[in-house]
């Protein structure tokens, strides 16, 4: 093909190529030079500035950016809210806030790219299940907050109990500020009231998921009795376990085991029991043939149309008032049936946090801002519910009603600070004083023996990646009854073993033993 062109052409092309390559190399160098100060500076200021310049900390006006996931369509009027929040922030800490909600589906990836690229921003939502906290901490995306919180966020520090702070610590460092809310979750089921009446369900008799079977047999709605979904992995306490690291990674610990022995949860009787039950349910027609294909979106659409399962999820974390939340969402009465005792676990305690980015230029101000979100009622309520008269109408001191089609209704007040400062959105919740009930539950609940232990996944990350792949190959099939556990369960376990399950379990055990000794 190249024979049409002469030597001269290729010589010139080569020269051009080299010239451009040189320019390219220079510009990457420059870009690096430009980056270095930005990534180094906050580190310096976080270490030295707090001690020496506390008084000067708020001298210069700064703007903080805050990234969090949410339904962006429901926050179109965030400018109004920002303006109101800035009035308070200007006065108290000489700062303004810029809210950056990202759609749920895009959030993880967006944050991953921003952190990996070293982009400058201040605050981000982080948790084990969204914008992975452990990974961000290991990769250096988050700033250690120990000193910052002590110095600039005393209210936040004191509102959350010490044992919960312990749960955030990775190698002694706190990397995320707790959004204070329910941490002691009982697990159980939620059933639409109309079904309880129609099928004459004896709520008190429901102790395990198998107790639902007689009612599935009587089921005669169009909508399937059981929609499918993973009821095992996300609810370790329901089966008497606590997870270590990510919920789906191999290696859980029995709650009643004083030695804290790590076992393979997929090889347990509990898991065998549930997948065998599922298989028999599918054969009996309680579970739809294509349950493995069902998505949360489809489920939400059906729920919106007034069709529910009996019960869709029997191992749902049930916080006080969650039946009221479901009622508010679907306009249908629900009954909460708690099956297990409330328990504080590490993953529950740190289920929602706000971290300060390594690239933040003003980590001190960011910490002060977090402190206000946990102590300033007015500020918190602006963020969580918007502006009175514009986004909601106030009914009483602590009760509001959203204006229909409100242009600011994030509906995720648990993501923004101290939830107990927030408004109630239903009269029932206000009447029951759900916040007080929840706080009482938090204070009185038992803690998992593993609370405060955080697993460092780094030494076995290659095995974890492989195990994760095996999990996603089998979990949907087994946990919807689509795969026959008689031959697929042994196959699953065999593949887990070959992917390094034993190595991961041994590593978890080693770290737990070390942690026990240091306590």
């Amino acid at each position: 093909m190249g024979k049409k062109y002469g030597m001269k052409f290729w010589a010139t092309a080569m020269a051009m190529f080299l010239a451009v390559a040189l320019v390219g190399a220079c510009s990457t160098k420059n870009a690096n030079n430009g980056n270095t100060p930005a990534t180094v500076k906050p580190e310096n200021s976080s270490v030295t500035a707090p001690q020496e310049e506390t008084a000067n900390a708020t001298e210069e006006h700064v703007t903080l950016t805050w990234y969090f996931p949410g339904n962006v369509q429901k926050m179109t009027d965030k400018a109004t809210v920002e303006a109101e929040m800035n009035k308070i922030l200007n006065e108290k800490i000489n700062a303004s806030i810029e809210l950056m909600p990202i759609d749920w589906g895009a959030y993880d990836q967006k944050m991953n790219i921003m952190s990996a690229g070293g982009e400058a921003f201040d605050l981000m939502f982080t948790a084990p299940w969204s914008n992975d906290y452990y990974k961000n901490a290991a990769k250096g995306a988050l700033l250690p907050l120990n000193d910052l919180l002590d110095q600039y966020a005393p209210n936040l520090k004191s509102v959350v109990p010490e044992k919960v702070w312990e749960a955030t610590k990775i190698k002694g460092n706190i990397y995320g500020a707790i959004n204070w809310q329910i941490v002691a979750m009982p697990y159980g089921a939620q059933i639409a009231k109309k079904y309880v009446d129609k099928y004459d369900i004896d709520v008190a008799s429901l102790k395990t998921f198998k107790d639902f079977e007689p009612y599935y047999e009587k089921w005669d709605e169009d909508y399937p009795a059981f929609f499918g979904g993973d009821q095992f992995t996300n609810a370790p306490p329901y089966y008497g376990f606590d997870s270590v690291g990510g919920d789906n990674s191999v290696g859980w610990v029995k709650l009643d085991d004083p030695n804290l022995t790590v076992v393979n949860q997929y090889a347990s009787d509990e898991f065998r029991n549930i997948v065998e039950t599922y298989y028999s349910w599918r054969e009996k027609g309680f579970i739809p043939r294509d349950a493995a294909m069902n998505t949360d979106e489809r489920k939400a659409a059906l729920n919106n149309a007034g069709q529910f399962e009996l019960p869709g999820t029997f191992s749902l974390p049930l916080k006080p008032g969650s039946d009221l939340e479901t009622k508010a969402a679907y306009g249908e009465e629900f009954v909460n049936i708690t099956i297990t005792e409330p328990l504080i676990t590490t993953n529950r305690a740190i289920a929602t946090m706000t971290g300060i980015s390594r690239t933040s230029k003003n980590p001190e101000r960011a910490a002060m801002f977090l402190d206000l979100m946990s102590s300033d009622k007015e500020l918190y309520r602006l963020m969580a519910s918007g502006v009175e008269g514009k986004h909601y109408t106030k009914i009483s001191e602590n009760l509001i009603e959203y204006i229909a089609d409100s242009s600011y209704q994030p509906n995720s007040d648990w993501m923004f600070g101290n939830q107990f400062l927030g408004y109630y959105t239903t009269p029932e919740a206000a009447e029951a004083d759900i916040w007080a009930v929840t706080e009482k539950l938090n204070n009185e609940a038992k803690a998992s023996p593993l609370l405060g232990f955080v697993f460092d996944a780094e030494p076995v990350k290659s095995e974890l990646a492989q195990l994760d792949s095996v999990y996603s190959e089998y979990s949907k099939g087994l946990l919807t009854g689509t795969m026959n556990p008689a031959d697929k369960l042994p196959e699953f376990l065999d593949k887990l073993n070959r992917a390094g399950a034993d190595k991961v379990i041994a590593e978890k055990q080693r770290q737990i033993d070390e942690w026990k000794k240091s306590k």
């Binding site: 451009v20 990534t39 493995a292 992917a499």
Partner: protein, 289 residues
């Protein structure tokens, strides 16, 4: 010279400069210390690919399915281009070309929903089967059908685009050849066999070589959206790209992702050089370089 400059600049900026980034594959990348100061880890990032029990399965699936796409896709595109060339009504020919091009412009996400509507348990295909008294098939639970389903879907989507390229080459063939052939009494099939196909062979070879270079890259959109990421189908549909995505979605390690990309490029390079070598052996003039 001036004409090639934008292309060259593009190539350098987007293909050669980023190659420095390949060092990530050999590092334990830490955001706070930056790319150059992160510690070296040798080949540790590659472990998860080769230590995996699925290494053989994903390699086989990638090569086998891409081979099916290239083989049947090329035949279908050429055949379709030949047919298009025979349409004498210009407006009709244009109309057919445009409609055939339409699937190419659709996102795989949407195509994934089309396929779902057809193949779900209460879907169109099972309804038609039921009409003929055939028992419904749980398509998304039956991996054995999926190489065929994926091939058909891939060809349906790419056909319009690829056949336009072939059609352009066919239109470029001088009509003198055909006139001479008609005088010699050659029929339509003989014209295709002895004039069109031989003159089309350089472009066929180039396109096939280029696709062989990419044979180790699976079209992620196709394999992820059309199979709806169903675990039950992995045995025949899991390819390198989906596997890497699944592993790293939760682990999210930049170093490991780069290692996978690096491995794919190396194998791609080897394959294209080998394929070119084979073509050179057979016919020196036809090879790419």
């Amino acid at each position: 010279m001036g004409m090639t400059l934008p292309g060259l600049v593009y190539l350098v900026l987007f293909a050669y400069v980023p190659m420095f980034g390949l060092v990530i594959a050999f590092k334990n990348y830490n955001y706070s210390t930056g790319l150059w100061n992160s510690p070296w880890v040798g080949f540790k990032n590659f472990d998860f690919l080769f230590a995996s029990q699925d290494a053989w399965r994903i390699t086989y699936n990638t090569l086998f399915l891409n081979f099916l796409f290239i083989f049947f896709g090329t035949i279908a595109s050429i055949g379709f281009a030949l047919l298009l060339n025979e349409i004498r009504i210009k407006v009709l020919s244009r109309f057919v070309q445009s409609t055939m091009l339409l699937p190419h412009l659709l996102s795989w996400v949407i195509v994934g929903y089309f396929v779902y509507a057809l193949l779900t348990y209460n879907g169109l295909v099972n309804n038609i089967l039921g009409y003929f008294g055939i028992e419904a098939i749980e398509w998304y639970n039956s991996p054995e059908y999926w190489p065929a389903i994926l091939t058909i879907t891939a060809i349906w989507k790419m056909l319009g685009y690829n056949s336009v390229i072939y059609l352009a080459s066919i239109l470029g063939i001088s009509s003198d050849y055909y006139e001479a052939a008609v005088i010699d009494g050659a029929g339509k099939m003989q014209q295709i066999r002895y004039i069109t196909l031989p003159l089309l062979s350089p472009i066929i070879i180039i396109l096939v070589l280029l696709s062989i270079g990419k044979i180790f890259y699976a079209d992620f959109g196709l394999f992820y959206n059309v199979t709806r990421d169903m675990g039950m189908l992995y045995s025949t549909t899991d390819v390198i790209d989906t596997y890497v995505f699944r592993m790293l979605r939760t682990v999210g390690d930049v170093g490991m992702s780069s290692a996978a990309g690096f491995y794919q490029s190396i194998v791609g390079l080897i394959l294209i050089v080998t394929a070119n070598f084979v073509v050179r052996k057979i016919d020196r003039e036809q090879s790419l370089f």
